[in-house]
Amino acid sequence: MDRVILKAIGSGFIALILILLIYIGIGLWRVAKKAGKKSVEIGKLALDQTKDHIKGIPDSGVRYDDLYTKAYEEMNSERFDSASWAKALANAAGEQGKAKALYIKYRVEQLKHE
């Protein structure tokens, strides 16, 4: 039974991820078709950008006090950067207090690359 359970979980995840990417691919393909460009190029560009937005870049060890200040001010004024806020909310399971703390962390990571 345990083996079948693992198969069910595996199949569930495969479908969830692949179908998401497939639908995005279809959208990009249709955009490309309209624009007369190669869909693969546009798809690759979008997916590469996604990687950058989600993963961030490793900490260089330099202190970024001004970036923390900027992130904190954004949080206080509720002018959130949507990507960082989305990621924070997701990792905080919707808990606002925890999400705000994570927002600072993710936003600073993002600002380091701007």
């Binding site: 039974m1 479908a15 991820i17 691919g25 959208g27």
Partner: protein, 222 residues
């Protein structure tokens, strides 16, 4: 016969089954319930590409029971008024890698939910494997956040993922996917719902919608 027409002809079989609102999985009839606000996709020539790529992509891992999308968005998609559907989903039956429908003989839904919850430590590994497979299929290097197990109730369990996409103008869009898994008539079935957000994602709202869809499906198959 054009390629497009051929695809449509092939997928019409799926559509007929879904219209009948019942599918048979390893001899057990399963009532198909499309979530409120969504319409069936796959029964229109404009959907052919969507269905073909979905089938190709998931291979033997799952059997598509029905594809659906927000009714208005689907209508606009078919009329070529929009390139991308923002709200969509599927109902799938889990299979073995060889394409055999998974069967849980003598297992109750509560046991199934408990067993999967107990194995939540396996989720990151399963997620990585699925991600690796996605990379074989999709160009580039997609990065997706595993949101893990979001919730469980008496009908099923729900896990999610999040992906942030940048379009060519640099605007960000967040895609959230929630998969609900359940056991009906000893068959493992999942309902996936996806939503694209232009601003802050409402994960709780999507989860609530997912749980409602799952409750309706389970009720119809009890």
């Amino acid at each position: 016969m054009s390629v497009r027409t051929l695809f449509f002809a092939l997928f019409a079989i799926v559509a007929i089954d879904a219209q009948a609102a019942t599918v048979t999985l390893l001899g057990r009839p399963i009532e198909v319930v499309i979530p409120n606000g969504y319409c069936e996709a796959g029964n229109h020539p404009a959907d052919a590409e969507m269905v073909r790529r979905t089938r190709e992509g998931i291979g033997n891992s799952n059997q598509i029971i029905v594809l659906f999308a927000d009714c208005k968005e689907l209508e606009d998609f078919r009329k070529d008024k929009r390139t991308m559907i923002d709200n969509y989903g599927q109902m799938l039956a889990q299979q073995t890698p060889k394409g055999q429908i998974l069967s849980f003989k003598g297992v109750s839904r509560a046991e199934y939910i408990q067993k999967i919850s107990d194995r939540s430590s396996y989720f990151p590994e399963a997620f990585k494997k699925a991600e690796a497979r996605a990379k074989e299929f999709i160009p580039g290097n997609p990065s997706i956040e595993n949101l893990g197990l979001l919730s469980t109730d008496s009908n099923g369990l729900y896990f999610g993922l999040l992906m942030v996409l940048s379009n060519d103008t640099g605007k960000l869009r967040t895609v959230v996917g929630v998969s609900g898994m359940t056991l009906v008539k000893e068959r493992s079935i999942s309902i996936n719902l996806y939503q694209v957000y232009k601003k802050t994602p409402d994960l709780r709202g999507l989860l609530t919608r997912q749980q409602s869809a799952m409750a309706n499906f389970v009720r119809s198959n009890n």
